[in-house]
Amino acid sequence: MNHRSVAPERKLYRPVMKWTWWLKKKSYLFFMVRELTSVFVAAFILLYAYELFLLSKGPQVYDLFQESLRSPVFLLFYVVAFLFALFHTFTWFGVLSKVQVVRLGKWTAPPALVTGSVLAGWVVVSIGVGWFFLTRH
């Protein structure tokens, strides 16, 4: 017999969660900042795409925009965006070992090795990209 059908009506108290829940704990705030990084990633992409668009419009327009990138507003934006991008990189690589278990036959890679390898890979890729853009003529 389902005892719920004969139990007296209970008066349950249901707490309501406020939309500011993420301000209540450091770890929740960390999470929100992590999510916020994606906005700066998107902003970087839109600006880059815009630069490509200006590139198609001719040297005067493009060079004018490159000049405007030296303004304090743009520089500040890119400094902030850089910090958020780094935050994304480190938090993303930080969780990869949880998301994907790496195996070779019977051997399972320790999480620290996975994280370390991906970070090393990132450094190599970054240097590669930097080298490509900075040295090719």
């Binding site: 998107a42 992409i45 880059y48 590139l55 198609s56 743009f74 850089f82 994304h88 990189t89 930097g130």
Partner: protein, 119 residues
């Protein structure tokens, strides 16, 4: 009562791919494009008009730019979508989803058009 969701895996897959690309490539690009060149730390000609137009004649470079610019849009769209839920916006869920992913799709079309038709 519960039904396997048929579309979420796609958006999550794109979020994942975009997150990987963003993690690997965005910091160095911001460093070069947004900081090193404008600040004069490196020769501004590396991003100059002539050089960029020359690079854009190579299909591999266009492919690289497509990978750099497109998947992270889906990463951002997915994160913004769920962040809006978590900031309390649960009404108009469908409209917000369409706006987020729609923006990513629009960006994809824009970038593809630039890389394929314009250059």
């Amino acid at each position: 009562m519960y039904k396997k969701d048929r579309t979420e895996p796609f958006w999550w897959g794109m979020f994942s791919a975009g997150g990987m690309v963003a993690a690997l490539l965005v910091p160095v690009h911001i460093l070069i494009d947004g900081l090193a060149v404008p600040l004069g730390l490196v020769d501004s000609e590396i991003l100059g008009y002539e050089r960029m137009r020359e690079l854009l004649t190579h299909p591999l470079f266009k492919l690289y730019l497509f990978v750099l610019l497109v998947p992270p849009l889906y990463h951002a769209a997915h994160r913004v979508r769920f962040s809006l839920y978590e900031l309390g916006m649960r009404e108009f869920r469908i409209s917000m989803d369409v706006l987020c992913y729609g923006a990513a799709v629009a960006g994809t079309i824009g970038v593809a058009y630039l890389l394929l038709k314009v250059f």
